[in-house]
């Protein structure tokens, strides 16, 4: 038995060496890795759906540029920064990965951003939200693609204060992302003339929010701002309905709510919720067509903006690499990405700023009532479009050292 196992291991090792040699001797090969939460609370936001999106981007790019050989791998970072950064190190160092994409969870994303910078490779964030990624923690190797906390705060926060929601209480996830989202929203609310009455910070992956909801209820704030994500947001809203929060005259502001969350809540519970997103699958024909292709791999699911962002990001990255004819120097690739205008079927035309922030329009949506929804996935009414120039933090406002002057 033992000798068999040894022979098998030896054969496997030989095969692996062979594969590595083959990869090195090919023409131009680019290796992309999707690093995401594959199994926990953010897995439906990014996860396997991000891998499916990256595959579509690679397939579409190959139709126009058959010369570039693109390999795709993926792994689960389990929402742990140490696992994320050690995977990234291994990928960049020994597995010849050129670019890592997605990475929901700001703690993990900030860690991977540092690794990408040390190894001079490329890192494109779609899943993580912290605006620090293009603020004081910005990096010449990192691009932040889909959305960030400043944009969410500014979109949802300002809109709500304008419609009379001027006193706020925050339920904040107790880690980097929650602090960033809370901080940015507080700034947006106070700027618009609102007031913050209190806040409570809860551990991530909390099951029961009733205690926190009771504190929010007692604060008498008109708006309960949810500076959390995924399962935490779902549980807050679901239990809020049970505790009569909305009936009692208070309203939830879902500062980061994805289509997958609305699906999990059901329209009955989620109706009337105001939220900001940069992409919605049912917004136009191009998005709907893409969604159909995506659903061939992810049956019965609806893509989130994070997954669409992965498609868009991979597309633009491949454009930059094929223009440079090399993926070796990460800083050069990112510089090229910033130089070329972005253009893809999902996000349309856009640009990447000096601080690594990708710029496009954002949309203020309201979740439909159950009777307004005509078919599965018919989630939102569009309330306002926030033009690209106003949607994100002004270039000089973030304190990114890459921005001169």
């Amino acid at each position: 038995m033992k000798t068999h196992a040894r022979k098998f291991a030896f054969a496997a090792a030989l095969l692996m060496c062979g594969a590595a040699a083959f990869a090195q001797s090919g023409t131009q090969t680019v290796k992309i890795a999707v690093l995401s939460d594959m199994s926990s609370l953010y897995a439906d936001i990014g996860g396997p759906g991000s891998v499916a999106a990256a595959k579509l981007a690679i397939a579409d790019f190959a139709k126009v540029n058959p010369n570039l050989k693109v390999e795709l791998i993926s792994a689960d970072h389990q929402n742990k920064p140490d696992i994320g950064s050690s995977l990234a190190t291994q990928w960049y160092d020994t597995d010849k990965v050129d670019m890592i994409v997605d990475v929901p969870g700001s703690g993990v994303a900030l860690a991977v951003s540092q690794v990408a910078n040390q190894k001079n490779k490329v890192f494109i964030v779609s899943g993580a939200a912290s605006s620090a990624l293009t603020g004081d923690k910005c990096s010449p190797n990192t691009v932040h693609w889909t959305y960030d906390t400043w944009m969410l705060a500014n979109g949802t926060g300002t809109a709500i204060v304008k419609t009379g929601g001027d006193t706020w209480f925050f339920l904040t996830a107790d880690y980097a992302f929650g602090y960033a989202l809370e901080g940015d929203t507080v700034a947006a609310v106070e700027k618009a003339g609102g007031k913050v009455l209190g806040k409570v910070r809860h551990p991530t992956n909390t099951n029961d929010f009733s205690s926190f909801l009771l504190q929010a209820q007692a604060s008498k704030a008109k708006i309960i701002g949810l500076a959390n994500a995924g399962g935490d947001t779902i549980n807050s809203i679901k239990q809020g309905a049970e505790f009569g929060i909305v009936k009692g005259g208070q309203k939830f502001a879902g500062l980061l709510v994805f289509a997958s969350d609305v699906n999990a809540l059901g329209l009955q519970t989620a109706q009337g919720l105001t939220l900001t997103e940069t992409w919605y699958w049912d917004a136009n024909d191009a998005n709907r067509d893409w969604t159909k292709r995506w659903q061939q791999e992810r049956q019965g699911k609806f893509p989130t903006m994070v997954q669409a962002g992965v498609y868009s990001a991979v597309t633009h990255y491949l454009k930059a690499v094929s223009a440079l004819k090399s993926s070796a120097d990460g800083k050069a690739v990112v510089a090229k990405m910033k130089e070329l205008p972005t253009d893809d079927p999902l996000f349309g035309k856009g640009t990447i700023r000096a601080d690594g922030r990708k710029i496009h329009d954002a949309y203020l949506f309201e979740v439909k009532k159950p009777e307004e929804s005509k078919y599965p996935g018919d989630f939102y009414n569009l309330r306002a479009t926030i033009p690209a120039a106003e949607a994100f933090r002004p270039l000089k406002g973030g304190g990114c050292p890459l921005v001169s002057g």
Binding site: Y42, D208, I234, F243, Q268
Partner: protein, 295 residues
């Protein structure tokens, strides 16, 4: 209105009640675990997954057959209990004579498989399950708004917990069961079918987990990882209460729910860890747990 540690007393009463409600889930789940450990000597790591199965059974019954909350409350525990019996007959029964570790590894493996299968089909963000209309709404108690559903959860859980305790500790059936755990050969000699009793006990313990799952479905997110989120806490509850002690599991479940609830007011960031701190302290002072007997 007076204040306690800077918190208005009214808010504090509310939090105590909330703690009791959460504690009732801990109590129901740890009760099942304690019964299984006490009677079978198996550390049932599948318990969380079986709780999740209960919630999903309720969800699927509604989707596929249109059966709502009340039928699900009966059918789901029976279905999941039966699946537990299959697991016990085909796999667990071979492990009783071996070290605890084997049972732990097997049940942990089954839990991972179940969770993975459900994640594959239903994703991680979960499925909606509405409150039963007859229990929606709530009462204004003056110091807090108590949803009717939560009141129902506390009452049901208390009835089920103490009913189980009574059957096992105070009836003839329970006496047989306890005797069978102590000395199976002797009890067999009296003409009692011990293996069948053990199988049914496992099925019952698993059914309790499923019952908790159905009760959780309308208020927590029905998602594949809902079990693994709660099971670690429940294990801590069982350890604090004393492995295999049924009354210990029930009282500790409610008690820790209250302590966790209070932590959420005074130091919310620590609310996930407070139970483990207590566990460490209890293990230092009373290694057999608060209600456990040292062998």
């Amino acid at each position: 209105m007076f204040e306690i540690f800077g918190i208005p007393s009214q808010a504090l009463f509310g939090q105590l009640l909330i703690g009791l409600i959460n504690g009732s889930f801990y109590a129901l789940l740890s009760l099942g675990l304690a019964v299984i450990f006490g009677m079978l000597n198996i550390i049932n790591f599948t318990h969380g997954a079986q709780y999740m199965l209960g919630a999903f059974a309720a969800y699927l019954l509604l989707q596929l057959t249109g059966l709502g909350y009340w039928p699900a409350l009966v059918i789901a525990p029976i279905l999941v209990g039966l699946s537990g019996i299959v697991i016990e007959r085909t796999m667990l029964q071979w492990l009783y004579k071996l070290d605890h570790l084997y049972g732990l590894l097997l049940t942990f493996g089954i839990a991972l498989i179940l969770e993975g299968v459900f994640r594959n089909y239903y994703g991680s963000s979960g499925q909606p399950y509405q409150l039963p209309p007859s229990l929606s709404g709530g009462q204004n108690l003056g110091f807090m708004f108590l949803p009717n559903y939560r009141a129902w959860v506390v009452v049901t859980s208390l009835v089920v917990c103490f009913g189980t305790w009574f059957v096992i500790e105070k009836t003839r059936l329970g006496a047989n069961l306890r005797a069978a755990t102590e000395n199976p050969t002797l009890v067999r000699a009296f003409g009692i079918n011990v293996p069948r009793m053990i199988t049914l006990t496992y099925g019952f313990g698993v059914g309790l987990a499923a019952l908790a799952g159905v009760m959780a479905a309308p208020i927590y997110n029905v998602s594949p990882q809902m079990g693994s989120d709660i099971i670690i806490v429940v294990f801590a509850v069982v350890v604090i209460g004393g492995m295999g002690s049924i009354l210990g599991a029930i009282l500790t479940g409610f008690g820790l729910g209250v302590i966790e609830g209070l932590t959420k007011v005074f130091f919310p960031e620590a609310s996930n860890t407070v139970i483990f701190v207590i566990m460490a302290v209890v293990l230092l002072i009373r290694p057999a747990g608060l209600f456990g007997r040292t062998a």
